[in-house]
């Protein structure tokens, strides 16, 4: 079999062996329902309490501010709808950006159908939000600012602390989707004036299908999922015991490993970026050159289309992702790449390599070896490239 190099850690990560080890007993032995008062239940309850402490500690939060959800997406939905409906009499205006994850964007769009007004802030060519524009977008009716901590496609890290300060000054709730940021960037909800923060397990070597919503004590918010009294009556449903335990462990490991992770991965990232630039012509780096996740590489490779690149890489055993519409079956390429001003055909030719703790130097060298001939082959087939060479660029 060919070598398999996984560089799609922003899509999802494998579960860390130590995380799996912690989870395992909770499937078959310590499987009680945390709401039960017998010993099986009490054991389960304790495990959940411990995980909650691990998460709270990692964010600088209190344990009673941590709520487990069924995904990062659910955390985003809960934060935005919950704040919107609970604060409707105060106002109906929400501020967000054009480059949010669909979990935020589609939730905002749903609210627009229900009488809310949403401002989608533009970003600059690096994907950065302009805090002056943010300030001038604030109205008397603004009840929520939701800006992602770091972007999942291009890796740009937003000025979260500054945004938190603006929100605080104006008495507006501030939510941040930190699904991609947590484990890649130090986070402190108090220092950064964050009122609500979303996380997801599967981006940090935890399991898929669990998330966290941090809700600052005192924030007025409705429930999203009604039912039993779990999570202090705020999020109903029998707790995903094994995953809660796993998430707690994954968070703990991520925090322990943070410095090393940032240092090692940003080195590999920079090597990969430099290598691609050296070896392939007509390539552009997307996202901010410095304020960038340590694990994110996003490049546009002119004259070729993303899916073809991905499948060719896949045949060489390399897993990556793309902002091309072809990967999703729709016509428009990634809204993020369009928002930073890329022309459609350039956006279609974008590739994202997202590194993880399992990524090695050899992996990077392997990609740098495999990618150039793939690009050559596809460009040789591309009418856009031969037009360019012939001087008839119509892009």
């Amino acid at each position: 079999m060919t070598r398999r190099v996984y560089l799609d850690n922003a899509a999802t990560t494998p579960v860390h062996p130590k995380v799996l080890e912690e989870m395992l007993p909770y499937f078959t032995e310590r499987f009680g329902n945390p709401s039960s008062i017998h010993s099986f239940g009490r054991e389960a309850k304790q495990a959940i309490d411990k995980a909650r402490e691990q998460v709270a500690k990692a964010l600088g939060a209190r344990t009673d501010e941590i709520f487990f959800t069924g995904s990062g997406t659910e955390a985003d939905n809960w934060a935005i709808k919950g704040i919107a409906y609970a604060n409707r009499e105060k106002g109906n205006h929400i501020i967000t950006t054009r480059i949010e994850h669909h979990a935020v964007l589609h939730t905002c769009e749903y609210l627009e159908q229900d009488g809310f007004e949403v401002t989608y802030l533009d970003v600059d060519e690096y994907g950065m939000v302009d805090t002056d524009k943010l300030k001038s977008a604030i109205k008397d009716t603004t009840i929520l600012i939701t800006v992602m901590f770091a972007n999942n496609e291009i890796g740009t890290i937003q000025p979260v602390e500054e945004i938190g300060e603006i929100a605080k000054e104006r008495g507006i709730y501030f939510h941040t989707d930190a699904v991609q940021a947590f484990g890649n960037v130090p986070i402190d909800v108090n220092k950064m004036n964050i009122d609500l923060l979303s996380m997801s397990g599967h981006k940090i070597m935890g399991p898929k299908g669990i998330g966290v919503l941090y809700i600052r004590k005192g924030v007025k918010i409705h429930n999203l999922i009604h039912g039993g009294a779990q999570e202090r009556k705020r999020r109903a449903g029998t707790e995903n015991l094994a995953y809660v335990v796993g998430l707690g462990k994954a968070v703990e490991l991520a925090v322990e490993n943070l410095d090393n992770h940032i240092h090692r991965l940003s080195g590999l990232r920079d090597r990969l970026i430099a290598g691609i630039m050296e070896r392939i012509d007509f390539v552009k780096l997307n996202g901010h050159p410095e304020k960038r996740l340590p694990n994110n590489v996003n490049v546009s490779i002119e004259f070729v289309e993303g899916e073809s690149l991905l499948l060719s890489l896949d045949m060489a055993g390399i897993a990556a992702s793309s902002g091309s519409a072809c990967t999703s079956g729709s016509l428009d390429p990634s809204h993020v790449l369009l928002a930073i001003g890329l022309p459609h055909e350039t956006a279609h030719g974008s590739l994202r390599f997202s590194l993880g703790d399992g990524t090695t130097e050899e992996d990077i060298e392997y990609v740098l070896e495999q990618l150039p001939p793939i690009v050559d082959r596809l460009r040789a087939m591309s009418p856009l490239f031969s037009q360019y060479k012939g001087g008839k660029v119509n892009v």
């Binding site: 045949m315 022309p343 591309s382």
Partner: protein, 122 residues
Amino acid sequence: MYNEKVMEYFTNPRNVGEIEDADGIAEVGSPQCGDIMKVYIKVEDNIIKDIKFQTFGCASAIASSSMMTEMVKGKTLDEALKLTNREVVDALGGLPPAKIHCSVMAEDAIRAAIKDYMEKNK
């Protein structure tokens, strides 16, 4: 996602390239949609003697163009004009629903190239 045949035509596409002195040329699709197909034909006695293509697009766009060129090569113009996207899909052993438009582009491309030839030779 794709079957082996599609992957084979994507990996080893037949008839890639340009024809310098082509008798008919056409380009369909648009960079916006992420798919462009360019087809070159060489015609003798109403028969497609040679055909080449260039495609900017996803694997199924490349495979569809390549399969189409194979299917019309050596055919009369009338026969080639009758080629449907369905036949291309069938010849490829099927495409995912979201990718059927690639076979439509292949059909459009050969028709446009023949039309270009006819206009030039009116």
